[in-house]
Subunit: 386 residues, 2 copies
């Protein structure tokens, strides 16, 4: 006497990722056009800004208010723009979540109203998670302010905070309503923060686009000097590759166990956790990519000259290839924590060419130890400190 | 110098809703088959049970363990089944969320492992919300134990908890991996809890299915006496109508502002909040459906005899049509709170026939006050107390 109804639910999301400059200049239509996609306004919005961004651009909250006033037929401030603590600390506890939920409640932001988040990846992750929970999801516009957020996290469909000491233990899949990548915001960054995002560009070039790898190689000196023009191109190309993977990869909400974009990330996650949040994601990914490139060579997937080019590229971009959080790392436990986070059987991305990814289901701990020794030797006294 | 990438993300969910009896009997394959959809096992799972269910069926935790042992090739217990507080209190704070997250963390439940939730709608909502956040979503199997959960909340795609005193202020859209509707669980319910879910059957019949309304009308006496056979049919038909709406309504995650299934719910939400969680959802929906049926008549949408049949049906099913939380209700504020929750412009469902829904964008407060007076008069001394 058992009967079954088979239920099918299909959901479709569409959002623009806009690359522009001076998005809050009153004549720039990008942000207003993003709101305009929701139909006739004015649409109510709250703006939440990373305090690091506000330190770099002290007038930015005033610019937000002026922009809203100049575009009053499209959007209206539901409350004064406010700041939240930036950096990985934004994800370390419930503080940012609580601040955003309070504002959503106090200002009566509904599912058709907007939260606009300006900041680095950690702030976007925490604010985005809060926005995704309130009323089961209010509309989120992201304005990423770091290279890493503009070329990777800020254009994706995920958010999260750390919990139980585990990176992104809590979070959700929640595509934004729009993303505005304002290149002018990058000019407020400290050099190490402009550099940090370049490791994700190297990562995605290595697993998806050999032509982009060659471009990074040819431009490694100006990129290492953090020149703006090649930096902007690298952001746009890297973001496009990430977006393409999410839309065409067949599993945007990661129901399966493959995580093809996570090259070098098992180690990066472990380093970030072991550093207690001191080590930034970009710096950690540089080390992780270097390590897994050497490991790829040791198990016969790539040759010595390719490996050397990868390490040289990372070095010329200004990355240190070792961090003290790697000393004494339990590889087996770190790989298992990563497996548990992604779920199911282990599926680790490696490379079998410059621009070509391959998936393995186990790690040879002896070879990985050898890779770590080799990496530490290569890094020498050049050890990253954050 | 502005360029735009238009990103498209499509996500598809498929899950079975299985109607059965004695699902935890070791010979019943329904639950094991639900796990089996995930591929070869054994799959790791934690089981979370509503304490009200465990009071009604003291052996149920032992039955869970026995079932897992008898189906060890398919599923394995990652930890001992445990109970959480049931009833609306399950959603009143973070306690249940914290218990479930702790278990997910301690037992190493990953995105490919399972949380199985047994209980009423409130427990399913809270456990489901926790499961949807951990690792950005672990697999959830729901085993609803009340009429209301089996015919409505438990088969849907939403979860949530109350926050800031607002019903479902926090939550997410997260389709389950499977739903097992075990009719035997309904036999453990107190009479008022078996009755409660019938108001949702009346609601969905009124807005979608005149034939089902006539069936409810013809069977109002045995249903009012809570006879098992018609109760089971009503659950299956009501669940099927809800499922059909979600899959075919075109907006399963409610990005637009229409909430076509919410007939009678603006008032029900207000009553539940004003009662401080004492009033159950089913009893509140019965009053809300009665009120909006009278209002539909007062603005000329349905006739007097249809309205009288609706009220008589609700009365014969055993519902009281008034609750003290309605005394002095500020209709304008309650409608506005409901609008804010669903977002955008007001879109209120009314009926213009038995089985036919119509949407309005405003409420005539004088007419609504008149409808409330009339409803209170009809209810007389028969006032619902929970």
């Amino acid at each position: 006497m058992t009967t079954t109804i088979s239920q099918h639910v299909r959901v479709s999301y569409e959002f623009p990722v806009i690359f522009t400059r001076d998005a809050l200049g009153s004549a720039n239509p990008a942000l207003a056009s993003a709101f305009g996609r929701a139909g006739p306004g004015p649409h109510r919005a709250i703006f939440v800004a990373d305090d690091g961004l506000v330190r770099a651009f002290p007038d930015i909250l005033a610019h937000i208010s002026a922009y809203c006033a100049a575009n009053a037929e499209v959007l209206t401030l539901a409350g004064a723009p406010f700041t939240v603590p930036g950096g990985e600390g934004a994800k370390a506890d419930m503080r940012v979540i609580d601040m955003v939920l309070d504002a959503i409640f106090q200002q009566g932001i509904c599912r058709q109203s907007f939260v606009v988040a300006l900041g680095g990846g950690a702030v976007l992750d925490a604010v985005g998670f809060a926005a995704s929970m309130a009323h089961r999801g209010v509309r989120l516009i992201r304005m990423p302010s770091t290279v890493l957020a503009q070329n990777d996290a800020g254009v994706g469909v995920k958010n999260g905070i750390n919990w139980f000491g585990r990176k992104n233990f809590l979070g959700s899949f929640a595509p934004p309503f729009a993303v505005i990548n304002d290149f002018a915001l990058l000019e407020g960054l400290a050099p190490e923060d402009r550099r940090a995002g370049l490791s994700e560009a190297v990562k995605i070039a290595l697993i998806r686009d050999g032509v982009f790898f060659e471009w990074l190689w040819d431009n490694r000196k100006p990129l290492g000097a953090l020149e703006q023009a090649p930096l902007e191109y690298s952001v746009e190309r890297c973001a496009a590759l990430h977006l393409g993977h999410i839309s065409q990869g067949g599993d945007p909400f990661e129901f399966g166990s493959a995580r093809p974009l996570d090259f070098g990330h098992w180690c990066a996650h472990a380093m970030e956790e072991r550093s207690g949040g001191v080590l930034g994601h970009g710096a950690a990914v540089a080390v992780g990519v270097a390590l897994d490139s050497i490991y790829s060579r040791l198990i016969g997937l790539i040759g010595a000259s390719d490996t050397d080019r990868i390490l040289t590229l990372l070095e010329d971009l200004g990355f240190a290839l070792w961090h003290t959080s790697l000393d004494g790392l339990d590889v087996r436990a770190a790989v298992e924590a990563f497996r548990e986070h992604l779920g199911g059987e282990l599926a680790l991305s490696l490379i079998n060419g410059l621009g070509s990814r391959i998936e393995v289901d186990n790690v040879d701990n002896a070879r990985m130890a050898q890779a770590m020794e080799e990496l530490q030797r290569r890094a020498g006294s050049r050890i990253c400190t954050r």
